[in-house]
């Protein structure tokens, strides 16, 4: 169910929206619990579990040792026995130490069992850079998860979607990778992104997994993006109003991918820009283009412009990192190029 937003809706950060979603589900379903590093009194390194320890205590908000294979595997075990764990992997970049549990077990058990065993688990994680955390703490990597069959992948760009997607993720009987970009969290100790604070209804509501949202309607060019980059796309779309009519499509989910929404928008505009903070090659942008190419390449009036993180590890120095990040200037330049 959706919920209405009006002028009286209170504004909160995405971090608060996520922890509120988890709290609301935990109040109604005793099977939901949270596990991860520093999710307890600390409230999660990026605020995803703020306030939960005070309300639910140590039996349901569980600080773990630094044992990702161990506790993600434990989450899988609890899930197959009917619980609904919300497990946090602190940084997506740490998936290297535990990916077997994720892609060979969490994602495959339902299939391997012929549908007999379900894994109703949420694996949430912080993604993204822009604040000089360098190669091992700044990645997005959603394409790597999306590529492996058997797990849903969502990455909200704003507080409203974050709460709705988290509630959907917890209620989903499938494993859901929930990726929150650090810049989208609205944290007080990072550079302020105004769109990371927004109206979020107090009641529970869902946002469907697998459905994109037209974040800004337009008719000249389709800009497809996900997570933090959507905020930059919206800034550019608003700036170009009157010059170029930009349609911003916020994918919100990568698995399932809303191919209908992509096709509908590009059928309307004929021009496509893709903005992705994950590495360019073999990723999200290629899959979006393939969606067009598979269906009807003649709907494109011009070659696609990709504003993606290049195929380089994340550099430390700020001047280097901002050379490679998909910034507003690059998005504007890509729109200008595709408009011809």
């Amino acid at each position: 169910m959706t919920a209405t937003i009006d002028a009286s809706t209170r504004r909160v950060t995405t971090a608060k929206a996520i922890s509120e979603a988890i709290a609301q589900e935990m109040r109604t379903d005793p099977n939901v619990f949270v596990m991860g590093e520093d999710v307890g009194p600390y409230g999660g390194i990026f605020g995803s579990t703020g306030g939960l320890f005070d309300e639910f205590g140590a039996t349901r908000i569980i600080d773990t040792p630094i044992s990702e294979t161990g506790f993600i595997g434990a989450g899988i075990g609890a899930a197959v026995e009917g619980m609904r764990p919300v497990v946090e992997l602190m940084f997506v970049d740490f998936f290297g130490v535990c990916f077997d549990q994720i892609y060979n077990h969490m994602a495959k058990i339902h299939y391997e069992s012929g549908g007999n065993v379900k894994v109703p688990m949420v694996l949430m994680m912080a993604v993204g850079g822009g604040y000089s955390d360098a190669a091992q703490h700044s990645q997005c990597l959603w394409a790597s998860f999306a590529h492996m069959p058997g797990m849903k992948v969502v990455a909200p760009s704003n507080p409203y979607d974050a709460k709705g997607l988290m509630i959907s993720a917890i209620r989903d009987d499938n494993p859901v990778i929930f990726m929150f970009h650090k810049g989208v969290m609205g944290l007080p100790w990072m550079a302020k992104n105004p769109r990371s604070i927004g109206p979020v209804p107090e009641e529970e509501y869902t946002v469907p997994i697998g459905k994109a949202a037209v974040a800004h309607e337009g008719s000249d060019v389709t800009v497809v993006s996900i997570s933090m980059s959507v905020q930059h796309c919206l800034d550019v779309a608003e700036e170009l109003e009157g010059d170029v009519s930009v349609e911003v499509l916020d994918l919100r989910s990568l698995v399932p991918l809303d191919r209908e929404a992509i096709l509908a928008s590009v059928a309307k505009t004929g021009r496509l820009v893709i903005v992705d903070e994950d590495y360019k090659s073999f990723g999200m942008s290629g899959e979006v283009i393939a969606t067009i190419a598979d269906h009807d390449p003649s709907m494109l009036k011009a070659p696609v412009q990709r504003v993606c993180y290049p195929d380089v590890p994340v550099p430390y120095a700020r001047v280097l990192e901002y050379e490679v990040l998909p910034t507003r200037d690059k998005i504007k330049a890509a729109i200008a190029k595709v408009m011809g």
Binding site: R10, P188, W189, K192, I197
Partner: protein, 77 residues
């Protein structure tokens, strides 16, 4: 009746300055008692500030500007 909200005393050092990191409500909006209207920070410790009463809020300080603990930061009428 006007209700003034002050920046909370959060640090051991009373003179330590802080910031209103984020305003969740804007001047002229109606807020409800208990609603979180701001996130404030002193020495990297952050705290939510709630509206004590229902009413229309006036924000008295800018986001990210330096504020003294105890200083008036908002008014609710």
């Amino acid at each position: 009746m006007s209700h003034v909200i002050t920046f909370p005393h959060m640090a051991k050092d009373d003179d330590a300055e802080g910031v209103v990191a984020t305003w969740f409500a804007r001047t002229g909006e109606t807020v409800k008692a208990g609603q979180v209207i701001a996130e404030v920070m002193v020495d990297k410790v952050s705290l939510d500030v709630e509206a004590p009463v229902d009413g229309v809020i006036t924000c008295l300080v800018e986001e990210e500007g330096t504020v003294k603990q105890g200083q008036d930061i908002a008014r609710i009428d």
